[in-house]
Protein backbone atom coordinates (compact mmCIF):
# COMPACT_ATOMS: atom_id res chain seq x y z
CA UNK A 1 0.00 0.00 0.00
CA UNK A 2 1.54 3.28 -1.11
CA UNK A 3 1.99 5.93 1.53
CA UNK A 4 0.65 9.37 0.57
CA UNK A 5 3.16 12.18 0.88
CA UNK A 6 2.26 14.97 3.30
CA UNK A 7 -1.27 13.70 3.87
CA UNK A 8 -1.73 15.66 7.07
CA UNK A 9 -5.18 16.51 8.45
CA UNK A 10 -3.93 19.97 9.46
CA UNK A 11 -3.35 20.88 5.81
CA UNK A 12 -6.93 20.07 4.87
CA UNK A 13 -9.06 21.37 7.76
CA UNK A 14 -9.68 24.56 5.78
CA UNK A 15 -10.90 22.77 2.65
CA UNK A 16 -13.09 20.43 4.71
CA UNK A 17 -14.58 23.41 6.54
CA UNK A 18 -15.48 25.03 3.22
CA UNK A 19 -17.25 21.83 2.09
CA UNK A 20 -19.01 21.57 5.45
CA UNK A 21 -19.94 25.25 5.28
CA UNK A 22 -21.61 24.66 1.91
CA UNK A 23 -23.51 21.67 3.38
CA UNK A 24 -24.65 23.89 6.27
CA UNK A 25 -25.79 26.55 3.83
CA UNK A 26 -27.82 24.12 1.73
CA UNK A 27 -29.33 22.29 4.73
CA UNK A 28 -30.05 25.68 6.32
CA UNK A 29 -31.92 26.82 3.21
CA UNK A 30 -34.16 23.75 3.31
CA UNK A 31 -34.78 24.20 7.04
CA UNK A 32 -35.64 27.88 6.69
CA UNK A 33 -38.38 26.98 4.19
CA UNK A 34 -40.33 25.30 7.00
CA UNK A 35 -39.12 26.98 10.18
CA UNK A 36 -41.41 29.59 11.77
CA UNK A 37 -39.53 32.24 13.82
CA UNK A 38 -42.34 32.78 16.31
CA UNK A 39 -41.98 32.04 20.03
CA UNK A 40 -45.17 29.92 20.13
CA UNK A 41 -44.72 28.14 16.80
CA UNK A 42 -40.94 27.64 16.53
CA UNK A 43 -40.73 24.45 18.60
CA UNK A 44 -43.57 22.76 16.73
CA UNK A 45 -42.25 23.86 13.34
CA UNK A 46 -38.98 22.07 14.10
CA UNK A 47 -40.08 18.98 16.04
CA UNK A 48 -43.34 18.23 14.26
CA UNK A 49 -43.25 19.85 10.81
CA UNK A 50 -39.60 19.44 9.88
CA UNK A 51 -38.77 16.25 11.77
CA UNK A 52 -41.97 14.31 11.04
CA UNK A 53 -43.94 15.82 8.17
CA UNK A 54 -41.51 17.28 5.65
CA UNK A 55 -39.95 14.71 3.31
CA UNK A 56 -36.38 14.15 4.48
CA UNK A 57 -36.80 17.05 6.92
CA UNK A 58 -35.24 14.83 9.60
CA UNK A 59 -32.17 14.43 7.35
CA UNK A 60 -31.69 18.14 6.75
CA UNK A 61 -32.06 18.91 10.45
CA UNK A 62 -29.61 16.20 11.47
CA UNK A 63 -27.10 17.34 8.84
CA UNK A 64 -27.40 20.90 10.13
CA UNK A 65 -27.05 19.96 13.81
CA UNK A 66 -24.24 17.41 13.42
CA UNK A 67 -22.62 19.76 10.89
CA UNK A 68 -22.31 22.54 13.45
CA UNK A 69 -20.64 20.13 15.91
CA UNK A 70 -18.14 18.96 13.31
CA UNK A 71 -17.57 22.50 12.06
CA UNK A 72 -16.49 23.67 15.50
CA UNK A 73 -14.36 20.55 15.99
CA UNK A 74 -12.52 21.32 12.75
CA UNK A 75 -12.31 24.99 13.70
CA UNK A 76 -10.60 24.17 17.01
CA UNK A 77 -8.26 21.65 15.33
CA UNK A 78 -7.41 24.29 12.70
CA UNK A 79 -6.88 27.06 15.28
CA UNK A 80 -4.71 24.94 17.57
CA UNK A 81 -2.81 23.51 14.60
CA UNK A 82 -1.95 27.00 13.35
CA UNK A 83 -0.93 27.93 16.90
CA UNK A 84 1.35 24.87 17.08
CA UNK A 85 3.15 25.66 13.85
CA UNK A 86 3.43 29.39 14.49
CA UNK A 87 1.28 30.35 11.50
CA UNK A 88 0.39 33.65 13.14
CA UNK A 89 3.84 35.19 12.93
CA UNK A 90 5.30 37.68 10.46
CA UNK A 91 4.11 37.11 6.93
CA UNK A 92 1.04 35.27 8.16
CA UNK A 93 -0.47 37.68 10.68
CA UNK A 94 -3.29 38.71 8.33
CA UNK A 95 -4.45 35.09 8.11
CA UNK A 96 -4.48 34.85 11.88
CA UNK A 97 -6.47 38.07 12.35
CA UNK A 98 -9.00 37.27 9.61
CA UNK A 99 -9.22 33.77 11.06
CA UNK A 100 -9.98 35.13 14.52
CA UNK A 101 -12.71 37.37 13.07
CA UNK A 102 -14.10 34.23 11.42
CA UNK A 103 -13.93 32.48 14.79
CA UNK A 104 -16.00 35.20 16.46
CA UNK A 105 -18.50 35.21 13.57
CA UNK A 106 -18.84 31.42 13.89
CA UNK A 107 -19.47 31.76 17.63
CA UNK A 108 -22.29 34.21 16.96
CA UNK A 109 -23.83 32.04 14.25
CA UNK A 110 -23.56 28.96 16.47
CA UNK A 111 -25.13 30.72 19.45
CA UNK A 112 -28.00 32.29 17.48
CA UNK A 113 -28.69 29.00 15.71
CA UNK A 114 -29.01 27.08 18.96
CA UNK A 115 -31.70 29.47 20.20
CA UNK A 116 -33.97 28.92 17.19
CA UNK A 117 -35.61 25.56 18.12
CA UNK A 118 -36.89 27.26 21.34
CA UNK A 119 -36.37 24.23 23.57
CA UNK A 120 -35.64 24.64 27.29
CA UNK A 121 -31.87 24.74 26.70
CA UNK A 122 -32.23 27.16 23.78
CA UNK A 123 -34.30 29.64 25.78
CA UNK A 124 -32.27 29.56 28.98
CA UNK A 125 -28.91 29.67 27.18
CA UNK A 126 -30.14 32.82 25.39
CA UNK A 127 -31.42 34.29 28.69
CA UNK A 128 -28.15 33.69 30.57
CA UNK A 129 -25.78 34.78 27.79
CA UNK A 130 -27.69 37.98 26.98
CA UNK A 131 -27.82 38.76 30.73
CA UNK A 132 -24.02 38.69 30.77
CA UNK A 133 -23.95 41.86 28.71
CA UNK A 134 -25.50 43.68 31.69
CA UNK A 135 -22.10 43.62 33.35
CA UNK A 136 -20.51 45.80 30.66
CA UNK A 137 -19.58 48.91 32.63
CA UNK A 138 -21.66 51.97 31.88
CA UNK A 139 -24.34 51.08 29.35
CA UNK A 140 -24.72 47.39 30.24
CA UNK A 141 -28.47 47.42 30.91
CA UNK A 142 -29.21 49.45 27.78
CA UNK A 143 -27.11 47.08 25.69
CA UNK A 144 -29.02 44.08 27.00
CA UNK A 145 -32.33 45.76 26.16
CA UNK A 146 -31.02 46.61 22.69
CA UNK A 147 -29.79 43.07 21.98
CA UNK A 148 -32.94 41.36 23.28
CA UNK A 149 -35.41 43.91 22.01
CA UNK A 150 -37.43 43.15 25.14
CA UNK A 151 -37.01 42.89 28.92
CA UNK A 152 -36.38 39.15 28.69
CA UNK A 153 -35.80 36.70 25.84
CA UNK A 154 -39.02 36.60 23.82
CA UNK A 155 -40.37 36.33 20.28
CA UNK A 156 -38.72 39.63 19.42
CA UNK A 157 -35.33 38.26 20.44
CA UNK A 158 -35.99 35.09 18.43
CA UNK A 159 -36.74 37.06 15.29
CA UNK A 160 -33.59 39.15 15.46
CA UNK A 161 -31.46 36.09 16.26
CA UNK A 162 -33.03 34.42 13.22
CA UNK A 163 -32.08 37.39 11.05
CA UNK A 164 -28.53 37.30 12.39
CA UNK A 165 -28.33 33.57 11.83
CA UNK A 166 -29.61 33.37 8.24
CA UNK A 167 -28.54 36.70 6.75
CA UNK A 168 -25.94 38.75 8.60
CA UNK A 169 -23.59 36.02 9.82
CA UNK A 170 -23.56 33.85 6.65
CA UNK A 171 -22.75 36.93 4.56
CA UNK A 172 -20.01 38.01 7.00
CA UNK A 173 -18.56 34.51 7.08
CA UNK A 174 -18.50 34.18 3.29
CA UNK A 175 -16.80 37.57 2.96
CA UNK A 176 -14.27 36.74 5.65
CA UNK A 177 -13.51 33.38 4.03
CA UNK A 178 -12.71 35.21 0.80
CA UNK A 179 -10.32 37.45 2.74
CA UNK A 180 -8.91 34.58 4.84
CA UNK A 181 -8.11 32.37 1.85
CA UNK A 182 -6.53 35.25 -0.01
CA UNK A 183 -9.17 34.91 -2.68
CA UNK A 184 -9.34 38.64 -2.97
CA UNK A 185 -5.65 38.61 -3.81
CA UNK A 186 -5.79 35.55 -6.11
CA UNK A 187 -6.92 37.69 -9.02
CA UNK A 188 -3.91 39.95 -8.62
CA UNK A 189 -1.42 37.09 -8.27
CA UNK A 190 -2.46 35.53 -11.54
CA UNK A 191 -2.16 38.77 -13.43
CA UNK A 192 1.21 40.34 -13.90
CA UNK A 193 1.42 43.50 -11.92
CA UNK A 194 3.91 45.46 -9.83
CA UNK A 195 6.53 45.97 -12.55
CA UNK A 196 4.90 43.24 -14.65
CA UNK A 197 6.64 40.52 -12.66
CA UNK A 198 3.70 39.38 -10.51
CA UNK A 199 3.15 39.26 -6.77
CA UNK A 200 4.24 35.63 -6.48
CA UNK A 201 7.90 36.42 -7.04
CA UNK A 202 10.26 37.29 -4.18
CA UNK A 203 11.00 40.89 -3.25
CA UNK A 204 14.56 40.74 -4.62
CA UNK A 205 13.45 39.40 -7.97
CA UNK A 206 10.58 41.85 -8.19
CA UNK A 207 12.78 44.89 -7.83
CA UNK A 208 15.71 43.54 -9.84
CA UNK A 209 16.58 45.09 -13.15
CA UNK A 210 16.80 41.76 -14.97
CA UNK A 211 14.05 39.66 -16.48
CA UNK A 212 13.17 36.60 -14.44
CA UNK A 213 13.32 33.16 -16.01
CA UNK A 214 9.86 31.65 -15.59
CA UNK A 215 9.92 28.47 -13.45
CA UNK A 216 8.26 25.27 -14.61
CA UNK A 217 4.65 25.74 -13.43
CA UNK A 218 3.20 22.99 -11.22
CA UNK A 219 -0.21 21.76 -12.35
CA UNK A 220 -3.00 23.10 -10.11
CA UNK A 221 -5.06 20.01 -10.68
CA UNK A 222 -3.87 16.90 -8.84
CA UNK A 223 -1.45 18.73 -6.56
CA UNK A 224 -3.87 21.20 -5.04
CA UNK A 225 -7.10 19.34 -5.73
CA UNK A 226 -6.90 15.54 -5.37
CA UNK A 227 -5.43 15.27 -1.88
CA UNK A 228 -7.79 17.81 -0.29
CA UNK A 229 -10.60 16.07 -2.16
CA UNK A 230 -9.56 12.72 -0.67
CA UNK A 231 -9.52 14.32 2.79
CA UNK A 232 -13.01 15.73 2.13
CA UNK A 233 -14.48 12.39 1.00
CA UNK A 234 -13.01 10.58 4.02
CA UNK A 235 -14.43 13.30 6.27
CA UNK A 236 -17.86 13.12 4.60
CA UNK A 237 -17.95 9.34 5.15
CA UNK A 238 -17.31 9.91 8.88
CA UNK A 239 -19.73 12.85 8.95
CA UNK A 240 -22.66 10.96 7.40
CA UNK A 241 -21.95 7.97 9.61
CA UNK A 242 -22.47 10.25 12.62
CA UNK A 243 -25.56 11.90 11.05
CA UNK A 244 -27.30 8.55 10.52
CA UNK A 245 -26.07 6.44 13.43
CA UNK A 246 -24.72 8.75 16.17
CA UNK A 247 -26.78 11.92 15.94
CA UNK A 248 -27.23 12.02 19.72
CA UNK A 249 -23.79 13.72 19.78
CA UNK A 250 -25.44 16.88 18.50
CA UNK A 251 -28.77 16.84 20.35
CA UNK A 252 -29.33 17.50 24.04
CA UNK A 253 -32.23 15.64 25.72
CA UNK A 254 -33.48 18.73 27.54
CA UNK A 255 -33.93 20.64 24.29
CA UNK A 256 -36.74 18.28 23.33
CA UNK A 257 -38.90 20.05 25.94
CA UNK A 258 -40.55 23.32 24.78
CA UNK A 259 -39.17 26.49 26.38
CA UNK A 260 -40.80 27.46 29.70
CA UNK A 261 -39.84 31.00 30.82
CA UNK A 262 -40.93 30.35 34.41
CA UNK A 263 -39.12 27.04 34.91
CA UNK A 264 -35.33 27.16 34.90
CA UNK A 265 -33.82 23.68 34.41
CA UNK A 266 -31.57 22.55 37.25
CA UNK A 267 -28.56 22.25 34.97
CA UNK A 268 -28.14 24.64 32.03
CA UNK A 269 -25.24 24.37 29.65
CA UNK A 270 -24.56 25.51 26.06
CA UNK A 271 -23.33 23.41 23.15
CA UNK A 272 -19.99 21.68 23.84
CA UNK A 273 -17.91 24.25 21.91
CA UNK A 274 -18.90 26.98 24.41
CA UNK A 275 -18.50 24.86 27.55
CA UNK A 276 -14.94 26.02 28.30
CA UNK A 277 -16.13 29.63 28.26
CA UNK A 278 -19.04 28.82 30.58
CA UNK A 279 -16.71 27.05 32.98
CA UNK A 280 -14.31 30.00 32.86
CA UNK A 281 -17.19 32.28 33.89
CA UNK A 282 -18.29 29.96 36.72
CA UNK A 283 -14.82 29.14 38.01
CA UNK A 284 -14.12 32.13 40.25
CA UNK A 285 -16.64 31.32 42.91
CA UNK A 286 -15.23 33.63 45.59
CA UNK A 287 -14.51 37.35 45.80
CA UNK A 288 -10.96 38.69 46.00
CA UNK A 289 -11.10 41.75 48.22
CA UNK A 290 -13.42 44.29 46.59
CA UNK A 291 -13.52 42.47 43.24
CA UNK A 292 -16.48 40.11 42.87
CA UNK A 293 -15.86 36.58 41.64
CA UNK A 294 -18.27 36.92 38.71
CA UNK A 295 -16.31 39.94 37.44
CA UNK A 296 -13.03 38.02 37.63
CA UNK A 297 -14.69 35.23 35.62
CA UNK A 298 -15.78 37.65 32.92
CA UNK A 299 -12.40 39.35 32.87
CA UNK A 300 -10.70 35.95 32.43
CA UNK A 301 -12.94 35.21 29.42
CA UNK A 302 -11.95 38.53 27.84
CA UNK A 303 -8.26 37.90 28.64
CA UNK A 304 -8.25 34.48 26.96
CA UNK A 305 -10.12 35.62 23.83
CA UNK A 306 -8.09 38.82 23.43
CA UNK A 307 -4.92 36.85 24.18
CA UNK A 308 -5.71 34.43 21.38
CA UNK A 309 -6.48 37.31 19.04
CA UNK A 310 -3.21 39.08 19.83
CA UNK A 311 -0.96 35.98 19.62
CA UNK A 312 1.26 37.64 16.98
CA UNK A 313 2.06 40.38 19.51
CA UNK A 314 2.28 38.23 22.64
CA UNK A 315 4.65 35.62 21.21
CA UNK A 316 7.98 37.49 21.19
CA UNK A 317 9.97 34.76 19.45
CA UNK A 318 10.18 35.90 15.80
CA UNK A 319 11.06 32.47 14.38
CA UNK A 320 8.18 30.64 12.72
CA UNK A 321 9.08 27.10 13.79
CA UNK A 322 6.83 24.28 15.02
CA UNK A 323 6.29 23.83 18.75
CA UNK A 324 8.30 20.59 18.95
CA UNK A 325 11.39 22.67 18.16
CA UNK A 326 10.54 25.09 20.98
CA UNK A 327 10.47 23.20 24.29
CA UNK A 328 8.97 26.05 26.36
CA UNK A 329 6.29 26.80 23.79
CA UNK A 330 5.52 23.08 23.47
CA UNK A 331 4.79 22.91 27.21
CA UNK A 332 2.73 26.10 26.90
CA UNK A 333 0.75 24.68 23.99
CA UNK A 334 -0.12 21.41 25.72
CA UNK A 335 -1.03 23.29 28.93
CA UNK A 336 -3.45 25.31 26.76
CA UNK A 337 -4.96 22.21 25.11
CA UNK A 338 -5.32 20.30 28.40
CA UNK A 339 -6.90 23.34 30.10
CA UNK A 340 -9.39 23.80 27.25
CA UNK A 341 -10.33 20.10 27.20
CA UNK A 342 -10.55 20.00 31.01
CA UNK A 343 -12.75 23.09 31.19
CA UNK A 344 -15.00 21.75 28.39
CA UNK A 345 -15.61 18.50 30.27
CA UNK A 346 -16.12 20.29 33.63
CA UNK A 347 -18.61 22.70 32.04
CA UNK A 348 -21.07 19.91 31.46
CA UNK A 349 -20.78 18.24 34.88
CA UNK A 350 -23.09 19.34 37.72
CA UNK A 351 -21.41 21.73 40.17
CA UNK A 352 -19.75 20.15 43.18
CA UNK A 353 -16.87 21.16 45.44
CA UNK A 354 -14.45 18.99 43.45
CA UNK A 355 -15.46 20.35 40.02
CA UNK A 356 -15.33 23.93 41.34
CA UNK A 357 -11.74 23.57 42.60
CA UNK A 358 -10.53 21.70 39.49
CA UNK A 359 -12.26 24.34 37.35
CA UNK A 360 -10.55 27.10 39.31
CA UNK A 361 -7.18 25.42 38.72
CA UNK A 362 -7.66 25.07 34.95
CA UNK A 363 -9.09 28.60 34.64
CA UNK A 364 -6.16 30.12 36.49
CA UNK A 365 -3.71 28.16 34.33
CA UNK A 366 -5.51 29.24 31.13
CA UNK A 367 -5.51 32.91 32.11
CA UNK A 368 -1.91 32.80 33.37
CA UNK A 369 -0.69 31.25 30.08
CA UNK A 370 -1.39 34.47 28.20
CA UNK A 371 0.44 36.57 30.78
CA UNK A 372 3.57 34.39 30.86
CA UNK A 373 3.91 33.85 27.09
CA UNK A 374 5.74 37.14 26.38
CA UNK A 375 8.37 36.29 29.02
CA UNK A 376 8.57 32.65 28.00
CA UNK A 377 9.02 33.42 24.30
CA UNK A 378 11.55 36.15 25.05
CA UNK A 379 13.60 33.61 26.96
CA UNK A 380 13.48 31.36 23.89
CA UNK A 381 14.49 33.90 21.27
CA UNK A 382 17.67 34.74 23.21
CA UNK A 383 18.58 31.06 23.29
CA UNK A 384 17.95 30.58 19.59
CA UNK A 385 19.31 33.86 18.17
Amino acid sequence: MMKLKNFNILLYTGAIMVVLGLLMLVSGIFLSMHYIPDAQKAFESVHTTIMQEVNYGWLWRKIHAVGSTFFFLLLYIHLLGMLYFGFYKHGKTKYWYSGMVLYFCCMVIGFTGYVLPMGQMSYWAAQVITSLLEYIPGAGEDIVLWVRGDFSVSGITLLRFYTLHIVVMPLSIVLMILVHTDFVKWYATTKLSWNRKGLHVSKEERYSKHDIIPKEPKPFFSNAVLKPLLACTLFLALFFYCVFFHDYLAFDALNFTPANPSDTPSHIYPEWYFLWMLQLLKSFFFDIGMIKGSYIGMASLVVVNVGLLLMPLIDRNPRRIPAHQRPYFLAWFWALVISLVGLTILGKLPSSTLTLWIGLFFSTVLMALFFILPFLSNKESHAKS
Partner: protein
Protein backbone atom coordinates in the same frame (compact mmCIF):
# COMPACT_ATOMS: atom_id res chain seq x y z
CA UNK B 1 6.25 15.93 14.09
CA UNK B 2 5.24 13.24 11.62
CA UNK B 3 1.72 13.19 10.21
CA UNK B 4 0.63 10.05 12.04
CA UNK B 5 1.66 11.48 15.41
CA UNK B 6 -0.39 14.64 14.78
CA UNK B 7 -3.39 12.57 13.70
CA UNK B 8 -3.04 10.32 16.76
CA UNK B 9 -2.87 13.35 19.09
CA UNK B 10 -6.03 14.84 17.56
CA UNK B 11 -7.89 11.51 17.75
CA UNK B 12 -6.83 11.13 21.39
CA UNK B 13 -8.11 14.62 22.31
CA UNK B 14 -11.43 14.02 20.51
CA UNK B 15 -11.80 10.63 22.23
CA UNK B 16 -11.21 12.20 25.66
CA UNK B 17 -13.76 14.91 24.84
CA UNK B 18 -16.40 12.40 23.71
CA UNK B 19 -15.89 10.27 26.84
CA UNK B 20 -15.93 13.33 29.07
CA UNK B 21 -19.05 14.83 27.49
CA UNK B 22 -21.14 11.69 26.91
CA UNK B 23 -20.17 9.00 29.41
CA UNK B 24 -19.01 11.06 32.44
CA UNK B 25 -22.18 13.18 32.93
CA UNK B 26 -24.23 9.94 32.92
CA UNK B 27 -22.33 8.76 36.02
CA UNK B 28 -23.51 11.85 37.91
CA UNK B 29 -27.16 12.16 36.94
CA UNK B 30 -29.79 9.51 36.39
CA UNK B 31 -31.28 10.00 32.95
CA UNK B 32 -34.91 10.22 34.05
CA UNK B 33 -36.45 13.06 32.14
CA UNK B 34 -39.93 14.27 31.34
CA UNK B 35 -39.40 13.26 27.72
CA UNK B 36 -39.15 9.58 28.70
CA UNK B 37 -42.28 9.84 30.85
CA UNK B 38 -44.19 11.42 27.97
CA UNK B 39 -43.29 8.53 25.70
CA UNK B 40 -44.59 5.91 28.15
CA UNK B 41 -47.91 7.76 28.53
CA UNK B 42 -48.69 7.14 24.85
CA UNK B 43 -48.74 3.41 24.10
CA UNK B 44 -48.18 2.77 20.40
CA UNK B 45 -50.15 0.07 18.59
CA UNK B 46 -48.50 -2.86 16.85
CA UNK B 47 -49.21 -1.25 13.47
CA UNK B 48 -47.44 1.98 14.49
CA UNK B 49 -44.46 -0.03 15.77
CA UNK B 50 -44.18 -1.88 12.43
CA UNK B 51 -44.33 1.37 10.45
CA UNK B 52 -41.72 2.90 12.77
CA UNK B 53 -39.37 -0.09 12.38
CA UNK B 54 -39.79 0.02 8.59
CA UNK B 55 -38.96 3.73 8.51
CA UNK B 56 -35.89 3.25 10.76
CA UNK B 57 -34.52 0.42 8.61
CA UNK B 58 -35.14 2.54 5.49
CA UNK B 59 -33.12 5.35 7.08
CA UNK B 60 -30.37 2.89 8.00
CA UNK B 61 -30.19 1.70 4.38
CA UNK B 62 -29.90 5.31 3.16
CA UNK B 63 -27.16 5.87 5.76
CA UNK B 64 -25.13 2.83 4.76
CA UNK B 65 -25.47 3.77 1.07
CA UNK B 66 -24.23 7.34 1.57
CA UNK B 67 -21.34 6.31 3.83
CA UNK B 68 -20.44 3.50 1.41
CA UNK B 69 -20.54 5.94 -1.50
CA UNK B 70 -18.04 8.29 0.13
CA UNK B 71 -15.78 5.43 1.17
CA UNK B 72 -15.79 4.11 -2.42
CA UNK B 73 -15.02 7.61 -3.69
CA UNK B 74 -12.10 7.82 -1.23
CA UNK B 75 -10.69 4.48 -2.43
CA UNK B 76 -10.95 5.57 -6.08
CA UNK B 77 -9.29 8.91 -5.34
CA UNK B 78 -6.49 7.15 -3.48
CA UNK B 79 -5.92 4.87 -6.49
CA UNK B 80 -5.94 7.90 -8.81
CA UNK B 81 -3.33 9.72 -6.68
CA UNK B 82 -1.17 6.58 -6.47
CA UNK B 83 -1.37 5.98 -10.24
CA UNK B 84 -0.59 9.61 -10.99
CA UNK B 85 2.53 9.45 -8.82
CA UNK B 86 3.49 6.14 -10.41
CA UNK B 87 3.14 7.51 -13.96
CA UNK B 88 4.90 10.79 -13.09
CA UNK B 89 7.93 8.91 -11.80
CA UNK B 90 8.37 7.12 -15.17
Amino acid sequence: MPNLKIFAAIVMCVFVLVIGLEWLPKQYTSQSSAVVMEQTLHVSTNEEKVIYEKEMSRRDVIGYSIVGYFLLLSVLLYIKIALQRFTCKD
